[in-house]
């Protein structure tokens, strides 16, 4: 059973559709008591980091997330919220990953958002079991987390090398959208489900 954090994070439908296609059961919840102890949790996220963070605080979910000892996967802004700080709205985040989140500087060489399929490398986690280095996944984001000791996958965009995925203890995060990344993405979600 997967529990999806139900908060002001935009498109939850794409995550539920993806789990349904894989035959995984899921529930939506914004109850801190449920999120704290659920077997596996997905923290989705599309939209603005500061808005999303404010909603997590309001719903009393920050400590529930932070205190978890079982697997949690943050997707896109969901991953960024697990970092220390985001420049998007200049907001302090949950602070599990040892990263700050910054904006790509737009130019005609570096279109922002970074949108589309890009390849991921240096894959270092069972989250990527069965996924080859160099595989393409789907990104849509204007802010990124740089490299840190928590980096478990890297991606290059324009001149910037950034974290495509992060891990700290039982917490995982992907900057890309596995639920929109075709067969490769489905493999990654399956790996998370079977942790």
């Amino acid at each position: 059973m997967i529990t999806i954090v139900d908060y002001a994070a935009g498109n939850i439908k794409s995550v539920t559709s993806s789990l349904a296609r894989l035959g995984a059961e899921y529930i939506l919840s914004s109850d801190p008591k449920v999120i704290a102890v659920a077997d596996k949790v997905i923290l989705p996220g599309v939209g603005n980091a500061a808005t999303a963070m404010a909603d997590l605080v309001e719903k009393g979910l920050v400590d529930a997330i932070k205190g978890r000892r079982k697997p949690l996967l943050g997707i896109c802004v969901g991953m960024q919220l697990l970092c220390r700080h985001s420049h998007e709205g200049d907001v302090d985040c949950i602070g599990l990953f040892d990263n700050d989140v910054r904006k790509f500087i737009p130019s005609s060489q570096c279109k922002v958002p970074h949108m589309g399929w890009n390849s991921i490398s240096n894959l270092e986690s069972k989250l990527f079991k069965g996924v080859d280095g160099g595989s393409f996944v789907y990104f849509v984001h204007s802010y990124y987390a740089g490299l840190s000791t928590d980096t478990i996958a890297t991606c290059r965009y324009a001149d910037e090398m950034f974290s495509a995925a992060l891990k700290y203890e039982n917490f995982y995060g992907t900057q890309f959208h596995p639920e929109k990344s075709g067969d490769v993405g489905e493999q990654i979600i399956k790996n998370f489900i079977s942790m």
């Binding site: 559709s17 399929w117 959208h177």
Partner: protein, 250 residues
């Protein structure tokens, strides 16, 4: 580097994909969900679904269709056609659309782009621009190219970027349906002046047209319809050709 994208475009009427034949009428070419699934399996990077029904009943059918597409397909998809309010956009987002494409409604009411982008983020807003060359100038048009407006392509593109659009989908009405190649020069200008991705649309007839618009035209993505629907170019073969021309693809 991010890969160049190949995007099949599906015009939908009452749940079926249709294609206009020499302005004489519409031919049904297949089920919208099945065709999307097939393209996705063949390596399409994204899909665009345009609702061309223009009736309330058709709109409702399309909204239900969006949900079935979201359930069936594991790559991103954009929906468009008749989106004229933030409520329209919200309804499609709730059903699972990854992006909405706004066309004529933004020409009439430019702040629609600001409103949708500030509520749901720039990544959700594709600004579709139809334009044609009139007296040496790219003039923005509405009503499938029939009505010229006061707006000029490049300044309008810059404006929608500033208003918060996340991508530009420019269709040259002079090239659309001709299969004689894309408006390569115009895409090059757009791509060099903008800092958001540019999708090229209108004129794809062969592999070389797509190579040209992605390399010389510097477009970030190429959209096409009939060459895919009628099996003239298989997406898998197209990707191999692009790769052998030094273009990064998935």
């Amino acid at each position: 580097m991010v890969a160049k994208r190949i995007i099949p475009c599906l015009d939908v009427k009452n749940g079926l994909v249709v294609k206009g034949i020499n302005f004489e009428g519409l031919k049904e070419v297949g089920d919208a969900v099945e065709m999307g699934r097939k393209y996705s399996q063949e390596g399409a990077d994204e899909l665009v679904y345009l609702d061309i029904s223009a009736t309330n009943e058709g709109r409702n059918t399309f909204t239900e269709l969006v949900e079935r597409i979201a359930d069936a397909i594991n790559i991103p998809f954009t929906v468009g056609g008749g989106i004229s309010s933030i409520d329209d956009a919200s309804r499609l987002l709730d059903r699972g659309a990854d992006k909405v494409s706004i066309n004529s409604a933004a020409v009439m009411n430019p702040s629609l782009i600001d409103n949708i982008a500030s509520k749901y983020g720039s990544q959700f807003v594709v600004s579709a621009i139809d334009a044609k060359m009139i007296d040496g100038k790219w003039v923005v048009t509405t009503h499938a190219g029939k009505k010229p407006t006061e707006k000029e392509l490049y300044s309008w593109a810059k404006e929608v970027q500033e208003r918060g659009a996340g991508e530009i989908l420019f269709t040259s009405m002079d090239h659309d349906g001709t299969k004689s190649g894309y408006a390569v020069e115009a895409y090059k200008c757009l791509s060099e002046m903008l800092s958001i991705p540019v999708i090229a649309s209108g004129g794809a007839g062969c592999v070389k047209d797509i190579v040209d618009v992605l390399s010389l035209g510097k477009a970030d993505a190429a959209l096409a319809a009939s060459i895919f629907h009628y099996g003239e170019i298989a997406i898998r073969d197209l990707k191999l050709e692009l790769k052998s021309n030094g273009i990064k693809v998935r």
